[in-house]
Symmetry: C2
Subunit: 258 residues, 2 copies
Amino acid sequence: MNVLIVYAHPERRSLNGAINDFTVERLRANGHHVQVSDLYAMNWKAPLDAHDVRDRNADAPFHASLDSKRAFENGLQSRDIEIEQDKLRWADALILQFPLWWFSMPAIMKGWVERVYAYGFGYGVGEHSETHWGDRYGEGLMTGKRAMIVVTTGGWESHYSPRGINGPIDDILFHIQHGMLFYPGFDVLQPFVLYETHRMDEARLHATYDALGQRLDGLWDDAPIAFRKQNHGDYAIPQLTLRDELAAGKTGFAAHID
Amino acid sequence: MNVLIVYAHPERRSLNGAINDFTVERLRANGHHVQVSDLYAMNWKAPLDAHDVRDRNADAPFHASLDSKRAFENGLQSRDIEIEQDKLRWADALILQFPLWWFSMPAIMKGWVERVYAYGFGYGVGEHSETHWGDRYGEGLMTGKRAMIVVTTGGWESHYSPRGINGPIDDILFHIQHGMLFYPGFDVLQPFVLYETHRMDEARLHATYDALGQRLDGLWDDAPIAFRKQNHGDYAIPQLTLRDELAAGKTGFAAHID
C-alpha cells in the first residue's frame, strides 16, 4: 500500500524527527511504499492567497473558494499544490505527524490543508443543494483511504483526560480528525499521542516505538473512529442537525460518533 | 483604551475587509486607540523556526521552546516578533478577526500565535513545579486585558448548533478561546460569529454592523466567559484535573466553564 506522511517539525534532530524516521522504516519493512512531505524541509508556503492561482487577473478581488474552484478546474493551481494533490491521489493512507502547538497543528501544516484541499478536491465535491449538502463527512475524494494522526505534546496525559484542564484529547483533535480528515472522506483511525515529551529516555523511546509500531502494523485492519456519515440518514438536510432519536439528549462532539 | 486587532484575510476588498474597517471606525468613534496587525498585508512569516532567533549557533539543534526562552530573555528574538509583543503590551484588548477555515484560524494567524507567544511571554510564565503549574489559564502576562474573536463562516448557524454536524461553535472555538486566549491570561468575551457569508446583502450587512457595533461598545463591560482558573482551587495540581465535586459527572470542554 502507499502511505503519505505529512510531517511538520522545524528540527530534524528531534524526537519528532526520530519518530518520523522510525515510521518510514517500519512501514517500508512492512512492504509499503512511503512518501514524506517534510513541510519545513520543503519550505512549504503556509498562507493561502492569490499567488496560489496562476494567470489570474491581478485586479480582480481574490476569493478564496471561488478562485480555488476555478484554478482546480482549469489546471491553474500553483505547482506545489498540484504535487501534494497527486501524492494524496497516490496514497492509500495519510499520516499527519506533528507536535501539538497551541492545541492544534503547526501553522505550516494548517497551510498545507488550506492550500492542498482545493475547492473540488478537499471540499465543494458533489451535488450541493438543499437536499444534498455535498459529498463530505464520510464521502468525498478521499473515500476508501485511511488517515491517522501521530502527535506529541509536553503536557501530561491527565491534562488531556476527560476532566483535564486542556480538554479531552479527542475533543482537542476533533477539528482535525472530524473537520479535516473525515470531512473529505478519510476513514480516521484513533490518534497516536505521545505525552510528556520532555521526559524521554532510551527505555521510554523503545516502548514508544513498540506502541507506535503496533499501530502502524494495524493501519489497514484497525477499526476507524465511527464518525457518523452526513448523507446516510443520521442528519436532517439542509439543517445538518443530528436526528432527535440518535444519541438522544447528547450534545457536543461525542454525539457525532456512533 | 487601546485595542489591537489581529486580522487575517487575503483580500482587503472582501466582507472581512469591510468588517475590519467598520470595527476600526467604531472603536475610534468611541474614543479608543486602535492598531491593526493585518497579517497578509504585513506578509507575516507563519512558520516558527530557527530564523526566529538572532545570533544562534546554526549547528545546534533548534528547540522550539528552549530557543524561544533564551531569545526572549536575551533580546535575541526576530524583530517582527518583538514588534507584535510590544503591541500586546500596549493593548487593553485584543480582537482576533478571521474567516473560519477548516474549523480554526487561518495558518498565517496560527503562525502569529506560535511566534509571538514566546516562552516567558505567552507561556512558561511563573513558577513551574509540581505545586504550581505556571501562571496560565486565567493568569499570565495578559491578565487584565480582554479578548474577543470576530469570525465569519459560510456554514449555517444550525450546522454549528449543539447537535449540528460541525460541532457546537463554542466547542470549535475552545482551542482558541480557552487554549490561546484564556491561557496567557485574557478575559475572553463571547465570540462574534457571522454565519452564511455567501448570503449577504445591504440590509443584512447593516444588521451585522449593528450587532457587531453593540458588541464593540460592550468591550469593557460585557461579562467574559467564566472559564475556570487553574490556580484558584478548582483543579488538582499537578494532575490538572477538575475536582470531583465541581461540575460533577461532566466531561468535555463545558466542564471548564463555571
